[in-house]
């Protein structure tokens, strides 16, 4: 992480006398607070506030700054995103500001009933009075601060540098490219004017800053690479992570167009400049093709299993045969006995055995013998059918009036059986004939093939192609809405597109049925035609599905044929679109994020806000504009101004920034004037250091306005309040 938050609770608050000022740098991204006269701020944290709810207790708590994400798992952070008090560098949400100040003072170690030290706090350039007055109110009334100084960050940097080195000769130009917004002030020290132009405007979520817009663009472009990849195991890129990536990898191209052309050509320099981020990934265990012994072993196993099954079937069959034999023997014996028994004792005899009449026994006997024979595999089905036909259809031919009612019933039953069995036979016959026909055709095909293989193959392939096209087209029609990006100007992106004509018709019918019935009363169903609707609707549904099946079946046949005879044939559907690439094993490349063009595309928006749709001038142009806005009297100072241009702020950490800025300003200013762009030695902390140095100086107490002043003169006086910087 390029920026590290320091949020240790300080313990030496009481050491400082109450005249010792506290210095606060209230930046758009980071909040720095510390004691005057020191080299570094004591506490640094991100200037955001979150108010999540605790998962178990349900209370809403406040968390300031960024923290270890592991601890945040106890809180439900879904409804509260991080919120910032700023709207493009101007504080407007004072409730959040209050939370932040609370936290800041708390970590500085404040105790006691109020903050007794004078406070020097930063504000942006041209801070509106309302913001200032609310800030003053907050400090005086909530914290009891005795006196407050409000200053602008860039001044302090300059002051600091001026005291430390004398590079800047009296006239300088400060470009403050904070992470929050870019402001450049033509700063004329010891001289007249100061023309800020703020490049951040309305809705500019340049930060909620230019920072986060860069970041967002970055994250979207890296996400788009994921869309191509199959594995979405990668967790979503969080805002902080993307910011880190940005600070680490982005650079500013000296000229965007030429850099981009490099990448487009795919030149070697482009390769070098591309960074690849490999995410953790474990390869799935590769399935090696089974070796010889494996195959042999598996085959043997299968054999054994098959044999076992066969044995079992055998055993069952033989046991069944035994049973049947026994049964038939018993029945035979019974019949034999029956013959010997006298007539009048037949019923009693039979009741012992469990059969009611002789016929029954006889029929049972014939059945068992038949099944026995079947199991032994000697009998054909037709014979059996014939036997039963001869037996059972005896009554059919006898006309009705001779038979008794029972017999009539019996006759009906026999009739029914006969027709069904005849029907079955007929169907069998037809199938048999069809098979013969197909056999004949196949033979013909074979002959054709043998005599002219080339032609035959060509014909077959052509047929296959046609069929597959037809099938695919039908499929495409069905799923039309899903594939095209449905940016329909007509506005109706819905089921209406995906349906084919028949389905649309059905929908239309349904809707008319539903809506046409007039308001108030539902008169559907009074007329007969209404119910016809149902018939139409259901029929439509069925018809649609059957049609393509024949084609598909034909296609299947043709492709199997082709596969048999043509070794080079690959079925069209298999070789088709590679969208079904999820069968392909995931490789290392799937888990990489490649940062190529994005590296310099993101910071480009500082110089060219048109890329994100914001209609403003870029940084370099703005610098020129600022100088031009100087009133006529100081035109002579132009040269001196461009001679010393100072960059500060988080954004100027991008490599290549200085050169680009210089080139940009050179394009706008008149030819030949000296331009010198310098970066501050520590762009992030220097502002605070300057402020601390100033606060420790002698003039500070006279520059602040005190609580007494505030109560007497009120907020409006702040309009005229300004810190005077003197040397």
């Amino acid at each position: 992480m390029p920026f590290i938050s320091k949020i240790q609770r300080q313990t030496d608050y009481s050491r400082f006398p109450s005249s010792h000022p506290i210095v606060i740098d209230n930046g758009g991204s980071y909040f720095r607070i510390g004691w005057a006269g020191e080299a570094n701020p004591r506490v640094i944290f991100r200037n955001i506030v979150q108010r999540p709810r605790h998962k178990t207790t349900g209370e809403t708590v406040t968390i300031v700054g960024d923290h270890d994400p592991a601890l945040l798992k106890y809180f439900d952070c879904t409804r509260s995103g991080p919120r910032s008090a700023f709207d493009s560098n101007v504080v407007y949400q004072f409730e959040i500001m209050e939370y932040i100040l609370d936290f800041g003072f708390n970590r500085l170690g404040a105790d006691g009933s109020q903050i007794d030290h004078p406070v020097l706090i930063t504000e942006c350039a041209c801070n509106p009075v309302q913001s200032r007055s609310k800030m003053a109110e907050l400090l005086f009334e909530s914290y009891g601060v005795p006196s407050v100084g409000l200053h602008r960050t860039n001044k302090h940097l300059v002051l600091m540098l001026h005291s430390v080195t004398s590079i800047i000769n009296n006239v300088g130009f400060v470009i403050k490219m904070a992470l929050q917004s870019a402001q450049d002030l033509a700063q004329v020290m010891l001289s007249q004017y100061d023309f800020p132009s703020r490049m951040s405007a309305e809705g500019f979520t340049y930060g909620s800053d230019g920072n986060s817009l860069c970041v967002f663009e970055f994250s979207l472009s890296t996400e788009s690479q994921f869309m191509k990849h199959v594995a979405v195991l990668i967790s979503r890129l969080t805002w902080e992570k993307v910011e880190d990536l940005k600070m680490e990898h982005c650079y500013i191209a000296p000229d965007y167009a030429s850099e981009v052309r490099l990448f487009q050509k795919g030149a070697k320099e482009a390769e070098e400049k591309t960074r690849c981020w490999q995410l953790p990934w474990t390869p799935s265990p590769a399935l090696e093709p089974p070796s010889e012994e494996e195959i042999a072993r598996k085959a043997a196993l299968k054999e054994k299993q098959g044999q076992r099954l066969r044995e079992m079937a055998e055993a069952k069959r033989s046991s069944k045969i035994n049973e049947l034999e026994n049964e038939s023997k018993n029945l035979e014996f019974l019949l034999l006995q029956l013959r010997h028994v006298p007539e009048n004792e037949v019923p009693s005899f039979l009741s012992k055995t469990g059969y009611v009449s002789k016929q029954e026994i006889e029929s049972a006997f014939t059945k068992t013998t038949q099944s026995l024979r079947k199991y032994k595999g000697e009998l054909e089905n037709e014979e059996k059918a014939d036997l039963s036909a001869a037996e059972k259809y005896t009554l059919i031919n006898i006309p009705d009036n001779i038979l008794t009612p029972e017999q009539v019933k019996e006759k009906k039953r026999q009739l029914f059986l006969k027709t069904t069995s005849e029907g079955r036979q007929r169907a069998k016959q037809k199938r048999f004939e069809e098979d013969l026909e197909r056999e004949r055709q196949n033979k013909q095909d074979e002959e054709k093939r043998l005599e002219n293989p080339e032609l035959y193959l060509g014909q077959l392939r052509a047929k296959h192609r046609e069929l597959s096209e037809k099938v695919e087209q039908r499929k495409r029609l069905k799923t039309n809405g899903g594939h095209s990006n449905g940016n329909n100007v007509s506005g109706g992106v819905g089921r209406g597109e995906r349906l084919n004509a028949a389905q649309r018709e059905r929908m239309r019918l349904l809707t008319t049925a539903a809506f046409d019935r007039g308001k108030g009363e539902d008169t559907f169903g009074y007329k007969d035609e209404d119910w016809q609707l149902y018939k139409l609707m259901s029929k439509d549904n069925e018809d649609d599905d059957e049609g393509p099946d024949e084609d598909e079946a034909e296609l299947g046949r043709v492709s199997s044929r082709l596969r048999d005879i043509d070794p080079t044939f690959v079925s069209r559907s298999e070789a088709g679109p590679s969208e079904t690439s999820h069968l392909r094993p995931l490789t290392k490349e799937d888990f990489q994020i490649v940062l190529g063009v994005e590296r310099f595309r993101c910071p480009e928006i500082i110089f060219n806000p048109n890329l994100i749709g914001i209609d403003q001038a870029g940084l370099d142009e703005m610098a020129g504009v600022s100088i031009t806005r100087l009133p006529a009297a100081c035109q002579s100072l132009d040269e001196r101004m461009t001679n010393s241009i100072l960059m500060m702020g988080g954004n100027c950490l991008f490599p290549g920034m200085a050169e680009r800025l210089e080139a940009g300003i050179r394009m706008i200013r008149p030819c030949g004037i000296p331009i010198r762009v310098m970066g501050a030695s520590d762009p992030i902390l220097d502002a605070w250091r300057g402020a601390a140095a100033y606060a420790a100086g002698m003039q500070f107490p006279q520059q602040t306005f005190s609580k007494v002043d505030y109560y007497e003169k009120g907020e409006d006086w702040l309009r005229q309040y300004q810190l005077r910087y003197t040397f």
């Binding site: 350039a125 509106p128 309302q130 909530s142 788009s224 981009v260 048109n610």
Partner: protein
């Protein structure tokens, strides 16, 4: 609260000794809090009615004390750019002289175009939103 949360001192304490008025007194529970803060645009607008015309410099020099004094802001927004607009491809970042009339995305060459046509709608909207060109239905 879990122990490690308390130990890490993550949460802002509700009662702070050095404050005169605590937060929970200022904003009692259940009250709508955030609605009454004015945005920057509104603040600037409110100021403008009372103040000087926008062109006047907002700071003056006091030569006698060698110091400068600044008056508060009117409007320091940056003007629109004078340079011609640079058009780059929404997907790849290359230069993009063409745009797709159906989706309004800019693209650099034919392959990118193929990719655009196969994108589902919400990806398209996100790309457009990057450029501030998405259709906002609100």
């Amino acid at each position: 609260m879990e122990r490690e949360v308390i130990e890490s001192d993550l949460v802002l304490p509700t009662h702070l000794g050095f404050k005169k008025i605590q937060m929970y007194e200022k904003y009692p529970k259940g009250q709508a809090r955030g609605r009454h803060w004015k945005h920057l645009k509104q603040i600037i607008q409110a100021e403008n009615y009372q103040n000087y015309p926008p062109d006047v410099p907002n700071c003056e020099f006091k030569s006698n004390t060698f110091s400068w004094v600044f008056s508060p802001d009117i409007n320091i927004e940056s003007p629109p750019s004078m340079h011609p607009c640079k058009r780059i491809c929404d997907i790849t970042g290359f230069e993009a002289p063409y745009y797709d009339p159906r989706t309004n995305l800019r693209y650099a060459n034919a392959e990118v175009f193929k990719a655009i046509r196969s994108l589902p709608n919400d990806y398209v909207q996100r790309y457009l939103a990057l450029r501030n060109a998405a259709v906002v239905l609100r």
